[in-house]
Symmetry: C2
Subunit: 142 residues, 2 copies
C-alpha cells in the first residue's frame, strides 16, 4: 500500500532536513567499517568539553551524522525522537565546535570533544547531568 510518501533507508540515502545542505558525500568507508551500530543504525556519542573535561550530554549518530561531524567542524546528531538530523545550536545558538572525535575499542561509542557555546542542555543547565545526582554510596579500597 502506498501512502504517497516514500522513506529511503537511512544508510542508502540519508534523510535531510532543512538545516543542512544536501550532499552526495558518504562517510569514509574505513571509518564506517569500524562502527558497531545498534538496531537503529546508531552509535552513542559522548560529548565532552575539551578543556574542563565536563561531560555535557549523550547523543546518537548514524553514519551521515558522523560524516557531518567529522567534516563540518560542528556536531550533528540523529534525533531519535524527531527522526531527523539535528545540528546542535542551529536553533538554540548553543553550538558545539568540534575539537576531536574518537571511536571506542568495540566501535559502538564515540567521544566527541568540543568547545560548547553556552548551555549544552535544553533545560538551560550547562550539562544534561547537572540536575540528576542519584545519591550513590561512594566506594574505595577496603
Amino acid at each position: 500500500m502506498s501512502t504517497g510518501r516514500t522513506v529511503a533507508p537511512r544508510s542508502a540515502a540519508p534523510r535531510q532536513n532543512d538545516r543542512v545542505p544536501t550532499s552526495d558525500a558518504v562517510l569514509d568507508p574505513a571509518v564506517s567499517a569500524r562502527l558497531t551500530r545498534d538496531e537503529r543504525g546508531l552509535v552513542a556519542a559522548v560529548v565532552q568539553q575539551h578543556d574542563s573535561g565536563e561531560v555535557l550530554m549523550l547523543g546518537w549518530m548514524d553514519d551521515e551524522a558522523l560524516r557531518r561531524t567529522l567534516t563540518e567542524g560542528r556536531v550533528t546528531f540523529w534525533s531519535r525522537s524527531r527522526q531527523e538530523y539535528w545540528r546542535k545550536g542551529d536553533t538554540s545558538g548553543h553550538v558545539q565546535y568540534v575539537r576531536s572525535v574518537a571511536l571506542d575499542c568495540d566501535g559502538d561509542a564515540l567521544l566527541v570533544r568540543v568547545d560548547q557555546v553556552g548551555a549544552a542542555c535544553h533545560t538551560g543547565d550547562r550539562t544534561c547531568f547537572d540536575a540528576g545526582d542519584l545519591g550513590a554510596v561512594a566506594g574505595g579500597p577496603a
Copy 2:
C-alpha cells in the same frame, strides 16, 4: 512449548551470575521511574575518572546493575554480549570505585564518576577511546 529452561524477565527477577550474591533488593522506585530504557531495558552509562575528567568507557545498565552501582561502591554493568552482570574489575583487577552517579535530563544516560584502578579498557589502554582518533576537522567561530 517448554524447553526445560525458563528465563524470567530481568526487571522482575534479575539474572545473577557467580560474582555477586543474590539479593532481594530492588532499585529505588523513585529512581526507576525516572529511567528511559531502550528496547533491551538498558540505559547508557558514561564512566569518567572523577579527578582528571578522562572519559574512560561507555557501558550499559539495567535497573539491577544500577541498583548495585548505587549501593555497593563498585560499578556493575549489564554485558550485552555475555548477557550477564559484570562488576568491573572482578576478573581484571581494574576496579571502578564509585564517586557519584547522575542521570541525564531525559533519563536514558548515566554519568558515573569513579576512581579507576589501572586500565579501564580491556586492551590495556587507560581509556577505551585512546586508540580511536578519527581525524575530525576542528571547528570554531567563523
